[in-house]
């Protein structure tokens, strides 16, 4: 390195010539794979499937599920009056079969905190499938289905989840660090009727795909899905009501 860097900042415009700056985009190992074996990627569900394959055989394993997606998936379900449950279901089976009747008719959050809200009509029509659910705008994601049931306000739940997701920011990328708390605040204002959906969408567009990880993208997916699946909730709350809970204007607390 030369001694030319006499400026106040050694890496600033008056400093060295930046020849060490990489000229190519960094590749993500999660996309391209790790170049140096051995590799070890696993989770509890993968271990469970490995055990099934070892104890049975491939043919027996493939007897469940569909031809395109053999085997089973683990779904975690949270419903209002039961303890959280984990269900092992064959691919291709109906999602509504893992949900109790008490939650029928109400929207559900599919895919976890980074997932998507879906109307009950959509949930009732879903069959468990990774590629099959995606075109419907409802990704299986983490396999978590939160069905709050009738009487729960999806907007209020989304506000709580967004607050949590904003607190879980790794604080490394500016748009996420600034944007997620701003989205959470804008959602609070939609909930109490003092703000509109337009501000939420404005902030969402400033956050999405502007981070090193997908945390902001997942948070935006959650927020956008609420307004897509349940249109009119913002104006209902602005008028003091809530469509999902059926609360009339002026009655909501």
């Amino acid at each position: 390195m030369s001694s030319a860097g006499a400026g106040p900042c050694p890496i600033g415009p008056a400093g060295i010539t930046h020849k060490h700056v990489p000229a190519v985009e960094p590749r993500r190992n999660s996309t391209y794979g790790c170049p140096c074996p051995p590799r070890w990627l696993s989770n509890a569900e993968t271990w469970a499937h490995l055990g099934l394959l070892v104890h049975r055989c491939v043919a027996a394993y493939c007897r469940t599920g569909t031809a395109a997606e053999p085997g089973t998936a683990l779904l975690s379900g949270t419903t209002p009056h039961d303890l959280p449950q984990v269900h092992e279901v064959a691919y291709g089976s109906r999602l509504r079969d893992v949900l109790p009747r008490t939650v029928a008719g109400a929207p559900a959050l599919v895919g976890g905190f980074h997932g998507s809200w879906a109307t009950w009509e959509t949930v009732a029509s879903l069959k468990v499938s990774v590629p099959g659910m995606r075109p419907l705008g409802v990704a299986l994601g983490a396999g978590v289905v939160h069905a709050p049931g009738p009487g729960a306000c999806p907007l209020a739940l989304t506000v709580r989840i967004t607050d949590y997701l904003a607190s879980q920011c790794a604080r490394r990328c500016g748009p996420c660090l600034n944007g997620l708390p701003a989205i959470a605040l804008a959602l609070h204002r939609v909930l109490d009727g003092s703000g509109g959906q337009a501000r939420v969408e404005e902030l969402a567009s400033l956050v999405v795909r502007r981070g090193a990880c997908a945390h902001p993208d997942g948070t935006v997916r959650l927020v956008r899905s609420l307004f897509t699946a349940l249109p009119g909730e913002d104006s209902a709350h602005a008028a003091g009501g809530c469509i999902a809970t059926g609360e009339a204007r002026g009655v909501a607390s």
Partner: protein, 63 residues
């Protein structure tokens, strides 16, 4: 071939170089860059200057 200006988000600290490439770089409400278009041949020299001027080395041109 059009090239893209990419931001290294963890490195970026919202310290844009003065007047860095206003043709294709806006700033959001927190001062972080919003890349609005590709680096065309006419903008290439300015884009290289912007990459070199970034005090956090957070910009790069990718193909």
């Amino acid at each position: 071939m059009n090239r893209q200006l990419r931001v290294d988000w963890p490195a970026c600290e919202a310290r844009p170089a003065p007047r860095a490439l206003p043709e294709i770089v806006d700033l959001d409400e927190w001062g972080y860059p919003i890349v609005t278009g590709p680096v065309t041949a006419e903008l290439r020299a300015d884009a290289v200057s912007a990459v070199r001027a970034c005090p956090r080395l957070a910009l790069r041109i990718v193909e």
